[in-house]
């Protein structure tokens, strides 16, 4: 392969890139997903006091800053060796559920609905929220309203929508304002109605995408997610479970503190995003997936009534283990249902108003590991500190990283299905991007850098020369 020149990277945003390799017959024989930015949080946080980590690491990602805040404060709780007051744990989970709702709304409506509602082959100039505003104004308004509900709840609890400083090591820094509780409870039914409407619409629409269902990362992998002691879905706190493609449990109830025995990380020569793998199976056989679809595959049940009814119907339609990456969209809506029900449960509990919300302590342990289920999947923060609490070593494994191998293979599968080696069709190209979009990868998180997947696609001949190139977000 000839070396890709900087020009190719930079003609568009250049955060993500796909290369497609052709054989002598002009057929796709290889495809690669490259992530093109790196920020190095693991290195430049060395020497900082541990209690600065939540506000520094939340700047990894503005889409799900709450995920990083929470994984970080959980790691800091361990460094302080404290038990977080129960009201504070509830408030953190509530904040987290609000973030799941806003992030899933962004993914489904703002980013993917143009493909899903206007069509994969729609005019690229209109295949965006402006096109939605013309053709499906109600859906766009629903999406804006649902995202706003999540963001506003975050603002009410934490005072800022993006990068709040309310969650702190040991708990949260202020109890719940009873008025915020009332307002959020009052708005919950409307948010739930949006999700129900969207699910009803999607159930009628989804089977109109048979080719996408068939070719969007439709292959066996393991799945990883957090579960409770009873095997039910957990988002804020739980133990790790890996299941196989046949549904058999591969490893269960792994304490987050033991993650490193199960998860290894491989560097890739052509991407700034490392590829985690299930360590006992080695690289690259230890491929697994995370995120909404993986969590539903991993969990025995959600644990809330409406979400469990939806999950039962989902499994009825597609089986106990749902393999196609296209169904991340459907899974996202089921999880939004769960998150809203969980918010209702948490807010209905009067104990959430308790004013004891923060434990104070110094450095009582030299190591801390915090794991949560971010909207896009399992997020791990791991810190070591010296006696003064200065960070000596940090490791961050983010959701999109876990999916790196599966996205790469999915890109190949979808390219082989749709891309004609002699000329790139825009619609085919868009499907390759749509596969990546289905994972809702956060390249901000993934490289501790950037972006909503702007991609350059290159078609290369067998000798590596660039035959054709098209760019797309």
């Amino acid at each position: 392969m000839t070396r890709i020149t900087i020009d190719h990277v930079t003609r568009i945003e250049g955060h993500g890139r796909i290369t497609i390799q052709l054989d002598d017959m002009g057929k796709v024989c290889d495809a690669r997903f490259h992530v093109t930015q790196i920020r190095g949080f693991e290195k430049f946080t060395e020497g900082r006091p541990y209690y600065e980590m939540p506000s520094i690491t939340s700047r990894i990602c503005g889409i799900c800053p709450v995920s990083h805040l929470l994984a970080s404060v959980k790691a800091c709780d361990e460094i302080m060796a404290v038990r977080v007051p129960s009201a504070a744990a509830k408030l953190r989970e509530l904040l987290h559920c609000a973030q799941i709702v806003q992030s899933h709304a962004l993914s489904f409506f703002h980013l993917s609905a143009p493909d899903l509602l206007l069509g994969m082959d729609a005019d690229p100039a209109r295949r965006n929220i402006a096109g939605l505003l013309e053709e499906h104004p109600d859906a766009l308004r629903d999406g804006i309203a649902l995202r706003k509900f999540g963001q506003q709840t975050i603002e009410r609890l934490a005072r800022e929508r993006v990068h709040p400083s309310w969650t702190v090591p040991g708990g949260v820094n202020a109890p719940l304002d009873p008025q915020a509780r009332e307002k959020t409870l009052a708005e919950l039914p409307a948010a739930a109605a949006v999700v129900q409407r969207t699910l009803a619409m999607w159930k009628k629409t989804v089977d109109g995408f048979p080719n996408e269902i068939d070719a969007f990362s439709n292959f066996p992998t393991m799945y990883l997610g957090l579960v409770g002691p009873d095997g039910a879905l957990r988002l804020y706190d739980g133990n790790l479970r890996f299941v196989g493609s046949d549904g058999a449990i591969v490893a269960d109830q792994i304490r987050p503190q033991d993650y490193a025995s199960y998860i290894g990380e491989a560097s890739l020569p052509d991407s700034y995003l490392k590829a985690p793998y299930y360590r006992p199976a080695g690289y690259p056989d230890g491929i697994y997936r995370v995120g909404p679809l993986a969590r539903l595959n991993v969990a025995d049940r959600c644990g809330t009534p409406d979400a469990d009814a939806e999950l039962a119907e989902f499994r009825e339609r597609y089986g106990r283990i749902v393999q196609s990456g296209f169904h991340y969209h459907y899974a996202r809506l089921i999880e939004a249902t769960y998150a809203l029900e969980r918010m209702q449960q948490l807010l209905d509990d009067p104990a959430i108003l308790d004013t004891k919300v923060r434990a104070h302590a110094g450095v009582n342990s030299s190591e801390g590991i915090g794991v949560i289920e971010a909207p896009r999947g399992t997020l791990i923060h791991h810190y070591r500190v010296d006696d003064n609490g200065a960070i000596t070593w940090a490791n961050l494994i983010v959701a999109t990283g876990h999916n790196n191998l599966a996205i790469g293979r999915g890109v190949l599968q979808v390219a082989q299905r749709f891309v004609d080696g002699n000329k790139i069709q825009e619609g085919a190209l868009n499907r390759v991007s749509a596969l990546v979009r289905a994972y809702d990868p956060c390249l901000s998180c993934s490289t501790h850098a950037l972006g909503l997947v702007p991609l350059v696609l290159e078609l290369r001949g067998p000798d590596g020369q660039v035959l054709d190139e098209l760019a797309t977000p």
Partner: protein, 176 residues
Amino acid sequence: MDRVKIGTCWLDGCSGCHMSLLDIDEGIVAVLRKADIVFGPLVDAQEWPEGVDVAVIEGAVSSQADLALAQTARARSRIVVALGDCAVTGNVPSMRNGIPVRSLLERVYVEGASAQPGVPTDGVPALLKHAQPLHESIKVDVHVPGCPPKPNAILLVLSELLEGRTPDPGSKLRFG
């Protein structure tokens, strides 16, 4: 009045400034009625087009890819807005500036790998020595600080620009 053409992009930032832009909620519908978003993470444009009225840029300039995109956006846009502390001052991305790029990369891809240790070089853009604020690379017309700037400040800036005025966001803004 002609529809205003807006392009947006993020360089070395966290996307939080773009999220704060979306946090104008229904305001986005009002913006879409007056303006076309011709480039950015929310639309399918192929490259930064000619004749853009307003370029909204988030993030510091950290790699060769960032630099080239900033220069293209500048050359093809009438007004450039630096959105957020990363673009205005370098902020969090510039925390790496005291560390040699090599040791940063080796920490992540050599020490931090249990399989195939090695620094990626194929098809990925090189990092610049320092992550810099936008104005060190290109001329910036409007600075909007904040990490991220508040949605109402962003809406004010956009509304003024859509009306053809140069915004003075003064009181609505603060760093951090």
